[in-house]
C-alpha cells in the first residue's frame, strides 16, 4: 500500500527522496513526520540515509540509483560523497560522474534491470550507468519528453509514465523495459510522476494530494498489495509484456 506524506507542505516526494531496494536517501531539513513515515515502512529492511547533494535538498532529482549502485552528479561535495559511501551498504557502488546534464534523477529512470536515459547523455555516461547500476540502457523519450527520469516512475514490477503517452509508445516502452506500464498521474493530476513519487519493490511514497484513484493505480501496477521485502528474493522476474490501457 502506498504511503501519502508531505515534505514541508510540498507533495513532490520524488524530489526530496530516493528509494531503491537496498537503501533510501532523504533530504535534510524536513520535519520529523517526513522521516518517521519512511522509518515506519522501511526501518528494519534497508538503511535510510539523510543527505544533501551540492548543499541542496533536491536529492531525488540529482541522483539516480538502484540496488547495485548510486550515481551522483559532479556537483556533489567530497564530504557528501564520503558520507554516502560510509552510510550505504558495501554492495552499493557510489560513483560521481562528470556529465554536463547534472540532474541525473531527471535524465535517468531505472530499476534493477533496465534503465531509460536522456537522449543527449554522453556515451561514457551511458557506459558508466550500465557498469555501475548493472542495467541495460535505452535512450528513449516519454510522450515526446526527453527528461525520462521526471516523467516516469519505475520499479521491478511495473511503471507509471506521463499521462499523454500514446498506446504505441506504451507498448514499445513496455517491451524494452519488460514490465507492465500504465499512463497515469500523481498528486492530483500532476504529470511529473518521477518527481511526485518514489517507489521500490514493496512500497511507494507519494504526496498527500494524491487521489484515491491514483493510489489504487499505483498499488495495482507496482503490485504493492501483497508485497513484502522477502518477495524480491523469492519471486522470479516475470517477462510479461503487459500493458494497462
Amino acid at each position: 500500500m502506498a504511503t501519502r506524506l508531505q515534505f514541508e507542505n510540498n507533495c513532490d516526494i520524488g524530489v526530496f527522496s530516493k528509494l531503491t531496494n537496498a537503501y533510501c536517501l532523504v533530504a535534510i531539513g524536513g520535519s520529523e513526520n517526513f522521516y518517521s513515515a519512511f522509518e515506519t515502512e522501511l526501518a528494519d529492511a534497508i538503511p535510510i540515509v539523510k543527505t544533501s547533494i551540492d548543499g541542496t535538498r533536491i536529492i531525488g532529482r540529482l541522483c539516480a540509483g538502484n540496488k547495485n549502485g548510486l550515481l551522483v552528479p559532479h556537483t556533489t561535495n567530497d564530504q557528501e560523497l564520503q558520507h554516502l559511501r560510509n552510510s550505504l551498504p558495501d554492495s552499493v557502488v557510489v560513483q560521481r560522474i562528470e556529465e554536463r546534464l547534472s540532474a541525473l534523477g531527471n535524465c535517468i529512470a531505472c530499476n534493477d534491470h533496465v534503465a531509460l536515459a536522456h537522449t543527449d547523455l554522453d556515451k561514457e555516461t551511458e557506459e558508466i550507468i550500465a557498469d555501475v547500476l548493472g542495467v541495460e540502457v535505452f535512450r528513449q523519450t516519454i510522450a515526446g519528453n526527453i527528461l525520462v527520469g521526471s516523467y516516469c516512475a519505475l520499479s521491478n514490477h511495473g511503471g507509471i509514465v506521463h499521462p499523454h503517452t500514446s498506446v504505441e509508445d506504451l507498448d514499445e516502452l513496455s517491451t524494452l523495459l519488460q514490465v507492465p506500464l500504465v499512463a497515469g498521474t500523481v498528486n492530483r493530476g500532476c504529470e511529473v510522476i518521477g518527481a511526485g513519487m518514489t517507489v521500490n519493490d514493496w512500497t511507494a511514497f507519494c504526496g498527500t494530494d494524491t487521489t484515491a484513484t491514483e493510489l489504487s493505480v499505483m498499488d495495482s501496477i507496482f503490485k504493492l498489495r501483497e508485497a513484502r521485502p522477502t518477495s524480491i528474493v523469492e519471486e522470479m522476474r516475470k517477462s510479461l509484456i503487459d500493458t494497462y490501457a
Partner: protein
Amino acid sequence: MSFVLPHSHRPKSNKSCSKLLLAVIGKRFQMSRRPSGRRLSKPQPLAFSPFMRFAFASSTAKRKLPHPQDCQCSEEITFDEKLPNLSKKAKKEELSDSSDEEDSQGEDVQADFEFFDPKAKDFNGVKILLQHYLDDKEWDLTSFVDLILEQTTVGTVVKVADDEDESVFAVVTALNLGRYKDNKCFRQLKEFLVKICSEKSVASELQMLLEKKARDVGLLVSQRVMNLPPQLLPPLYDGTFDEVSWATEDEPTEELRKSFRFKTYLIVTKIYKLKNPKQRKPRRGEEEIEETVFLKPEDELFLELSSWSFTYPMRSQLVTSQEMKNYQLMGLVMAVEAKRIPEFRQMLNSLIDE
C-alpha cells in the same frame, strides 16, 4: 522553496528587487503596433519550461479581459474606444505605444496574458504559487486552494494564451473570513497570524478582525510569478474589486451577498527589509539604498493606505541575487479599509502609467 523541477509550473526568476524589476520590465514590454506580415525571427534556444517557451515566441503583448458572462454579472462593461468588438469569450485590448523595441540580445519577452475565473484544474498551479503563503508552516494548503478555486464569483487566475500546459502565472481573490471560519485551513491561518504578531498594539486589532469582525473581513490573496509585467496589475485589481461589488448584487442568497460587503481587507504578503539599516549610508554617486524593497509594487500602496500593519521574520528564503544580500525576507500583514480601495485603484493606475 528553492527546488527546481524540469518542467516547472513555477517560472520564477531571480530578480526580486521591485524597482529594478519595473525598469527592466518597462523596457522589455514596450508595446508596439505589430507591422503586418513581418515576424521577428529570433534564435530559439533550448527551452524546457512553458514559461521559457512562450518567452521566446513572438507576438505583441495583448491583454484579454474576461467577458461579463464569465463573471456571472449582468452589467455592461464599458471600455474606451481603443477596443474592437466584443468576442464571445474575451475582449482584446491593443496597446499601441509607438516607441521602438530595443532588442537586447534578442531577449525581449512578448506575451499574451488572459484572465480566467478559477477552475478546478488550476489546482496545481495555484498551489505552487501559494506554497510559502504562511512561511514554512505545515498547514492544510490543499483545502485552502480548493476554497479559492470553488469561489468562481470572485477570483482571477492569469494564464498565457495558447499555452497547452495552462500554467498559472498569478492568482488574486478575496475570501470572507467569516464564511470560511469553520474550515481547518482558516483556523490554522488565524493561529499562525496570532502567533507571529509580535507587536502588542496591533495584536488586539488583529484578534478583533479575526474573531468578532470576521464576517466583514476579506482576506485578499494575491500571488504571482516574479517577473510578471506590472501593466497587468491595474486590470487585475480593478477586475477583482469590481467582481466583489458585482457579487454583492448578483449572488443567489442574501447571506452570500452580505459576505462580499467587506469593510476591511486583510493582506498577507512578503517584503525585503534592510538587515542593518544604520550602517548603510549611500556614498557619493551610489544609488540611495532603500530600506524596504517591495516585491509587489501594490504592496507599497496598500501599506500607505493601511490602518495597521506588522512585519515578522520569515524562515524560508526565496532565491535571491547578489544585490539582495543585505536584505532579509520579512512577512508583512496589513489591514486596509474597504473605503480606501477606490483611492488604491487610482494610485495603482497612476503608478503603473509612469
